[in-house]
């Protein structure tokens, strides 16, 4: 079967076709690019760098009900994720898709997380290759990713100018290609080759890097190193680096009860940079300062996670560097780890 293309003129039609599913695409809220559910294809904004908030929230929502209850009643009504229906996340970046495949390991480790896994099963990821690295702080190539990376994706689109090259990568992707078949045309024969060349070129444009070799083993040996005090001194303890990280997956569980006793137990993103994150009811806090919290963040990503799941929990999207209010730079920290 010939490789297909989606002409830019037909993107609207194609998105219209896909809106029979829960369709998630990048869109603008004022000047901020966010992934959101769209009903009108015109809302989609595909000519973007990367979104501020990663699309992980459509697999792992910032706030999610686990079950509902009436206070005092023994009956617990479990959330049925199936009701959310088939979801297509359209136009996400390869790093964010790869991040989901990394987080999958955690949610399917030992205990299966039924909410996350069901949602992932129902979701098809349509990636948009980075013809240009979206940010000066991209470093995906250092972590095994690529601007044209396919890990975690079901389909990859590549911007070829007037049209997108459409490459299905999995069964889900092939199914989606069939769904879209009326809007696709045959792509020029040498396009796949051309795309490979573009990938190389884009990789060459990635300017930041870190050699991760040996870091997971080295980090635990630097436990009491004075570098942690130094790199965390400016930290404000906010949640930017973790909430905007596509691989950060920590959550809190809280109960919320409304007037009349109707309540829900829900989970919401939590951040290891918050003071209350590890605070015991006794008042004791095993990570009392920003030093311990920063150390834990780096260790979790670059040492604990790989020691359990054989992959570093960072995809090099650069969000934490771009958006840190005080320019705490994970690559700067890792450089210091390497030098220590």
């Amino acid at each position: 079967m010939a490789v297909k293309k989606l002409s830019k003129e037909k993107v609207g039609e194609a998105l219209g076709e896909l809106s029979k599913f829960r369709l998630i695409a990048p869109a603008k809220s004022d000047e901020v690019v966010v992934f959101k559910q769209i009903s009108d294809p015109g809302e989609a904004f595909l000519d973007y760098g990367n979104s501020t908030v990663p699309p992980k929230k459509f697999a792992f929502p910032q706030t999610e009900t686990l079950f509902r209850f009436m206070v005092g009643s023994p009956e617990l009504k479990e959330k049925n994720v199936e009701e959310e229906g088939t979801t297509v996340i359209f136009g996400l970046r390869p790093c964010d898709a790869r991040a989901m495949s990394i987080v999958d390991k955690l949610f399917s480790w030992d205990f299966d997380d039924p909410y996350y896994l069901k949602r992932r099963e129902l979701t098809t990821l349509v990636g948009m290759a980075c013809v240009e690295p979206p940010s000066v702080n991209c470093f995906c190539t250092s972590l095994g990713g690529s601007p044209f990376g396919t890990e975690g994706l079901d389909m990859l689109l590549t911007d070829m100018g007037d049209y997108y090259l459409v490459q299905p990568l999995t069964d889900k992707g092939k199914k989606l290609e069939e769904t879209l078949s009326a809007h696709l045309e045959d792509a020029p024969a040498d396009d796949e080759k051309k795309a490979e060349g573009m990938a190389k070129e884009s990789e060459g444009k990635i300017r930041r890097s870190i050699d991760t070799e040996g870091i997971p083993e080295k980090l635990p040996t630097l436990w009491d190193n004075e570098l942690w005090k130094r790199v965390s001194a400016a930290c404000l303890g906010c949640g930017i680096c973790t909430f905007l990280c596509p691989t950060c997956h920590c959550f809190d569980i809280q109960d919320e009860v409304d007037e009349g006793g109707e309540g829900r137990r829900c989970r919401m993103w939590d951040s290891c940079m918050f003071e209350e994150y590890t605070l015991h009811a006794s008042g004791h806090n095993p990570r009392p300062t920003r030093r311990e919290r920063t150390r834990n963040r780096i260790n979790h990503k670059y040492s604990y996670y790989p020691s359990r799941f054989e992959v570093i929990a960072c995809v090099g999207c650069g969000r934490c560097i771009n958006l840190c209010p005080v320019n705490i730079d994970i690559l700067d920290i890792l450089d210091q780890v390497v030098d220590a």
Partner: protein, 279 residues
């Protein structure tokens, strides 16, 4: 597979206070409202459960009864925060919710034929109680059992009646202490690590299990080393703030280990490698 976030309802059969004060300790003896849950419920000494009330929250507690005690579970809970305060309001006949069993257990199979000494402080006796009970109920499988336990005052001692019973029956050595001198106290006065040195259990073919406040554990571990215990002969349990209890939510880690999933039971040999374990 069952959704691991959905708890079971339990009914309180009986409840009583172990220790008084602002941070009083209350024991709950409960059974599942749905008797059928017992068919699938298997826990071992050392394992934990998330205990809570929908609308208030959940927190992790060790199951302080041994599986050899049939027909009920026990939890001994100190009043500290929002959830524990709400639990303390409950009386016999009331219900709450339990999710588990979670975490690992004391390797009691491996300990067969060995002597066991437990060293507890305050509410730290709660995870040791199922170990003691298990050994008492499988007496022939184990060697000597020796108990060391202390709390601030005699009123703060948990499981007073059971200690009394053990002492009266004389089935094992039992050493008690209080931190400060009080009238008519027949036992040791001083901190648990001191009592441990006083008792000086022999390390040969012996497992030491300790649980209590972090500062006590720290000195107990040092003293056990002085007594000649090797790190793999010493076990303890850790605790941390937990939310999911199944190794997802991320907060309870000490180093690369999740207390909720890889713990709460750790050998000192494991923990020695992890500086965060005693933070």
């Amino acid at each position: 597979m069952k959704n691991p976030y959905i708890p079971y309802e339990v009914k309180i059969l009986d409840t009583w206070y172990e220790a008084p004060g602002d941070r009083c300790i209350k024991t709950f003896k409960v059974t599942f409202t749905d008797e059928k849950v017992w068919d699938t419920w298997n826990h071992l000494p050392g394992q934990c459960a998330m205990v809570g009330i929908p609308g208030v929250g959940e927190s992790m507690f060790c199951i302080s009864s041994s599986p050899t005690e049939k027909g009920y579970l026990r939890f001994s809970i100190m009043k500290a925060g929002k959830n524990t305060s709400a639990l303390h309001e409950l009386e016999a006949g009331d219900t709450f919710f339990v999710r588990g069993p979670l975490g690992n257990n004391f390797p009691l199979e491996e300990w067969k034929g060995k002597n066991v000494v437990t060293i507890g402080g305050g509410i730290g006796q709660a995870p040791l109680r199922p170990v003691i009970q298990w050994i008492r109920d499988n007496r022939a499988d184990y060697g000597e059992l020796e108990l060391i336990y202390g709390a601030r005052t005699s009123a703060d001692h948990c499981f007073k009646d059971e200690f009394k019973e053990i002492i009266e029956e004389g089935e094992c050595e039992c050493h008690l202490s209080v931190d400060v001198e009080e009238e008519e106290w027949p036992h040791f006065v001083g901190f648990v690590p001191q009592l441990l040195m006083e008792v000086a259990p022999k390390p040969d073919n012996t497992i030491a299990v300790t649980c209590g406040p972090p500062i006590m554990i720290k000195f107990v571990l040092q003293n056990l080393e002085k007594l000649g215990f090797t790190p793999d002969q010493v076990y303890t349990t850790l605790e941390n703030r937990m939310k999911c209890g199944i190794g997802k939510c991320g907060r309870c880690n000490v180093g690369h280990l999740y207390v909720c999933k890889d713990g709460p039971v750790f050998s000192y040999a494991q923990l020695k490698e992890i500086p965060e374990a005693f933070a």
